[in-house]
Amino acid sequence: MSAMLLNKDKWPEFVGKLSGKVWVPKVEEGEAIRFGPLSGEESKLPEYCNTRVPPKEIVFPETETLYCFQADEHEMTAPEIDERKIIIGIRPCDARAMKIVEKLFRWDVDDPYYLKHRELVTLVGLACNAPGLNCFCTSVGGGPASTEGLDIIMFDLEDRYLLETITEKGEALLKEVEGLLEEAGQDVLAQKEKLIEAAENKISRSVDTEGIAEGLPGLWEDPLWKRVSASCLGCGTCTYLCPTCHCFDIQDETEGFEARRYRTWDSCMFEEYTRHASGHNPRPTRRERTRNRINHKYSYYVDKFDLIACVGCGRCINYCPVNIDIVEILRQVKEAL
């Protein structure tokens, strides 16, 4: 696999030559809130640690039409998914999350929508030089320069980018812009190693996951769940901003004779998520719901797919309105084991 250099001056040219819709982090209200299609005005990537809304929405749209029909007819047509997308600047944790979630969408029955989106997307990641305050990717199997799930990884070397291809798809992408790149020398690769090490050292938070997956079910009735969920508001911020949360709801909507069935993100932190039509709710309070969220990520998923469904991006910690901190919860879990 190749390692190439791209001068930052050539950025507009670089993104202009790629075949497919390019998505980059977009700054709104003074902050990189989410990824959006390139508008042509950007001359470089913005300054960002990570976007607030993860790029999972590109492969798993918040609302996606499953099929449309006419209210008085029974002909169902699924939308065609055929747009090639290139996500530039996705952080390694978010790319890793896609790889983790893909396991579920491939489990037993393939999910045609997710897999089609995933097939059509090329991930050009940007390694983190300055991880955020609440990043703990190194504790859950990732790292600031993890290549899992990525097709290309970029390193920010101040005035230029180092691009390393990881997959065939990435290799093919670089072919399209060959003229703009130059071969990277050994010195650059050494510089890269230093950057990675420096970034890893900047990660201040950590979780000791040893024994958690096996131990969590044993803590079912532990008082810790009451404690950590006491201040929970029951909103969906933690799950909607989580790159690995993948639960959805299916609903119908109509306007006149036109109708569609769509799926839309749902959150296990909502009360009606598990509520039966009879009114009975197997998870009646936020204690059970918080417990399920942690268990799902750190125990059930490990059981099924041998992976922790958390990539340590820190979003749920950063944006929880009441400072519910998953690292702290896991520390308490560990203590209770």
Binding site: T65, C68, P79, E253, E255, G256, E258, R260, Y262
Partner: protein, 143 residues
Amino acid sequence: MSEDFEPNIVAFLCNWCSYAGADLAGTSRIHYPANIKVIRVMCSGRVNPLYVMNALQQGADGVLVSGCHPGDCHYMEGNYYARRRLGIFKDLLEFVGVDPRRFHMSWVSASEGHKWKEVVEKTVEDVRAAGPFEGFRRRQIDW
């Protein structure tokens, strides 16, 4: 604005006054524009602002709510509540950027067939001037 544009207007009429007023207009053969789709409710106080919003979402270009004159409400005070509620709602719609000409409220009594005609004409004229309302349609994106 296109001259051919025929607005779609949903009107919520109270059973006791405005509906009877519209009925009177009909039986008296007073001509008024046919753009109004009437929905009869028991009282203007029953009109939840969500109805107005939903009508706009489902393709109405304008909405009219009409009830009894203050003091004449069959339920004594329903229209007073409606006035307060929908007055605030109108301010809200305007602040969000919905053309104020799209939402009207009126008092039409059972004997005011002519007033009904005037109200409808004014509403249709206003909505026509405001043009088609596509921005808020539920089906604005390709499903």
